[in-house]
């Protein structure tokens, strides 16, 4: 017993001792940055306090009884066993309290449901395991992946997550939105069900394959807001965060211009040396392949083939390109990869992950050959 106590005390102290190091010691729901999130926070607090109040009353009575109505204190048991008046009262009062809760809840729900009269629409597509954003009123379209530092750290045993800023809550390309604008989100998925949640915006919504859902937000203050996927979507469900940057209108406009210009640029298909191909290839691999084929190319026994010593990888380059572009029933098609990205990732997987072919392919030499699987 003593040992257990000591262990327990020690462990608690150890855990609490870290409090200083980890400033963020949140207990309650965040208030968020939209009217809806504030309404939800108020509703949350209202119900929480009602529960606390009822809890204090009920548990108070119970513990009073436990203390005073003990046999060891010589209390004689009364023998009442029903009281219709009391029973009616404690049926009606909770019902009234519930009605009192339902009114503000209904109001907030109706407000949340009103997606009409929005100023812009953003399409959110959940994919294993990243988010894809498309702005429907301009041509901006990009993928938002977990940032490389988190990606490498969470896949490396013994790596220190505390050394990574915003570990697992950072992405390479955040979603950018203007403040003080009613933005409508339309959500769908390209594979399994995902769910898009940024707590500061006050809601989450599922992204279902083949179907669309809608939601909206109106952010008051500029800032960076982080969230995560909240519907189990496979092995890397925990590694597809969301980052939303809300900007003042002018900054947003500048961002739109910059991003559109970048998107219009043709991919750079000029030759690269081996080091460049390998370095870029690793980035492409970390974004697109690592979720299934793993950081060492080992795949997953029984589910996903290894890339290490895989005949597909180490065989001819042109059929490999075709294979990547067409996909199979198990592997998604990577037709979205540009020629330079294909060259980079193919060079990488043939010369790393335990493979050593020693060749390379340049972006302007991409000539796919399609074979049957």
């Amino acid at each position: 017993m003593n040992k257990i106590k000591k262990l327990f005390a020690g462990a608690t102290l150890m855990a609490l001792g870290q409090q200083a190091a980890q400033a963020d010691y949140k207990l309650n729901l965040m208030q968020g940055v939209t009217k809806v999130s504030h309404d939800i926070y108020d509703l949350h607090m209202l119900i929480l306090w009602i529960c606390v109040f009822i809890g204090v009353a009920v548990f108070g009575a119970m513990f009073y009884s436990i203390y005073y109505h003990r046999k060891s204190k010589g209390h004689q048991a009364a023998q009442f066993h029903e009281n219709t008046t009391v029973e009616i009262i404690w049926t009606i009062i909770p019902t009234l309290i519930l009605v009192g809760m339902a009114i503000p809840a209904t109001k907030t729900l109706l407000e949340l449901d009103d997606v009409q009269k929005s100023d812009m629409t953003i399409q959110i597509t959940g994919k294993q395991w990243y988010w894809d954003y498309k702005y429907l009123n301009n041509d901006i379209h990009f993928e938002s992946h977990l940032d490389e530092a988190s990606e490498i750290t969470h896949r490396t045993k013994g790596a220190d997550p505390r050394s990574v800023p915003n570990y697992l809550l950072n992405v390479d390309k955040p979603l950018v939105i203007p403040v003080k604008t009613k933005i409508r989100f339309v959500l769908t998925s390209a594979d399994v069900i995902h769910s898009w949640w940024v707590p500061d915006l006050g809601w989450k919504k599922d992204a279902n394959p083949g179907f669309i859902n809608e939601a909206w937000t109106y952010v008051d203050t500029a800032g960076v807001y982080r969230g995560q996927c909240t519907e189990l979507c496979g092995r890397d469900h925990g590694f597809m965060p969301i980052v939303v940057i809300a900007m003042e209108q002018a900054d947003y406009d500048a961002w739109v211009k910059k991003t559109s210009d970048q998107q219009k640029q043709k991919p750079d298909l000029s030759d690269q040396n081996r080091e460049q191909l390998m370095a870029h290839g690793k980035s492409v691999y970390l974004k697109n392949c690592v979720g299934c084929h793993q950081i060492e190319g080992s795949g997953v026994a029984g589910l996903i083939p290894a890339l290490t010593a895989s005949p597909k990888v180490t065989g001819g380059i042109d059929p490999l390109i075709g294979f990547l572009q067409a996909g199979t029933s198990k592997m998604p098609a990577f037709s979205k990869l540009k020629d330079n990205e294909l060259a980079e990732v193919i060079t990488y997987i043939r010369n790393d992950l335990g493979n050593k072919i020693g060749d390379e392919i340049q972006p302007n030499k991409i000539t796919p050959v399609y074979e049957d699987d």
């Binding site: 855990a15 809890g55 119970m62 009884s65 046999k71 066993h81 029903e82 049926t91 809760m101 949640w197």
Partner: protein, 547 residues
Amino acid sequence: MSAVVAEHDDHHADDHHDHGPAKGLLRWIITTNHKDIGTLYLLFALAMFFVGGAMAMVIRAELFEPGLQFVDPAFFNSMTTMHALVMVFGAVMPAFVGLANWQIPLMIGAKDMALPRMNNMSFWMLVAGVLLLASTLFMEGGAPNGGWTLYPPLVLQPITVGKALPFAVFSVHLLGISSIMGAINIIATIFNMRAPSMKMMDMPLFVWTWLITAFLLIAVMPVFAGAVTMLLTDKFFHTSFFNAAGGGDPVLYQHIFWFFGHPEVYIMILPTFGVASTIIPIFARKPLFGYASMVWATASIAFFSFIVWAHHMFTVGLPIAGELYFMYATMIIAVPTGVKVFNWTATMWKGAMTFETPMLFSIAFVVLFTMGGFTGLMMSIAPTDFQYHDTYFIVAHFHYTLVPASVFILMAAGYFWLPKWTGHMYNEKIGQLHFWLSAISVNILFFPQHFLGLAGMPRRIPDYAVQFADWNMISSIGGFIFGLSQLLFLYIVIDTIKGGTGEKVTDEVWEDAGKHSLEWTLPSPVPYHTWETPPTIVPTEHVLDHH
């Protein structure tokens, strides 16, 4: 002091020993005796409690610190999935079936369950089902890892679930058939085997809650079996129930699943209510407050469980009318549930309470279950649920309603009835130690998870952002203490069966227990055959006249 002085036949205990238990191991395989089968169910459930618990320990060990330490994410997902399936279908449900097997015939004056051979079959089917499920752990691609809800398209994805899917589905079929047979047996026993003079409203509350639970089982287990069969045909026979490409809808699965799933969670809690309502009056030395309202509250909770399923799906994209309806319907459940909590409190009020281990666990149940109820109420509010849904807040919520509620009450039932069943008293000191360790550690384990959920930590993730580290570590520490404390329970069970404190228990075991329910009027330990002739329950006046 009693109103009744009745004739008691001296021979009644040994008259029917002409066919006692079979000898050796075979006894346990072929037995049709409700007490043997009850024991089998309870021991099997206890074993599965430790198997599922070991999986929980893997989960808490991985979450002890941020970063991946022990397991890879897919195996982590397998652990969360299997932990849930094993605990729900292997531990909690069988444990309550075990209690039903032991207690219902004793409490209603029946000599056995109505269909003893089917009883044996349903137990062994359960074993087969759980073994089949456990075998998936060793299969190529690992055990199912799409969550215990088995949502498509995830579980149908070849890169996510390997060979395990059909085995998991068949296992669900076996478990379903087993539960349905068990439920049929319980209903038949209660309706047909009850001592003829016992009216429905004379039945102990444990019997009532199980009767209602059995109807829930018959109503929803087939629906679940149907849903997983649709998964199977979608995967292997090109049907498109849940596949949008063929005109199906993955959300349809969620509707069907939760049509089963919501009654299912009540299947695990209603018998809990029954046991609590049995234990609290005895240790308060008072009759249960509001017997009739308890029955009605149980029945109405069961009824509502069928019409609130989509509150598990508020974020799935329901239309506003649906969200409002399911929100209101769900909120209403707080009323009958509240009535129950008030009734238990009123039962304790002005009693003459003592605090033996079963009572301690029961009081902890009332308090901690109510906390789970509060968070449940918070989540019934659809807009706030948009923030809580699929976070650690819900993990905390349902664990509060299952661990310090269902599991605590199962422990309480063990301490409460083991002396009756074995004739031996358990060691009260170790029992109390077990209680305090469990009650404290369970809160260290689950309370911080509320904070994690509110701070934004999603559920079912193997690794998390650094700001969630502290509460996760505390929660894990609580988990380890809780897990280790349960070994005390194992020790007590074994020790009590082997002789316990050596103190011979009386027939009543607990002071005046005989005034509350029939089983305490039987000898301790309970003979192998009981109520060969049903007891008679006589109106007091009648007995008085007779006297």
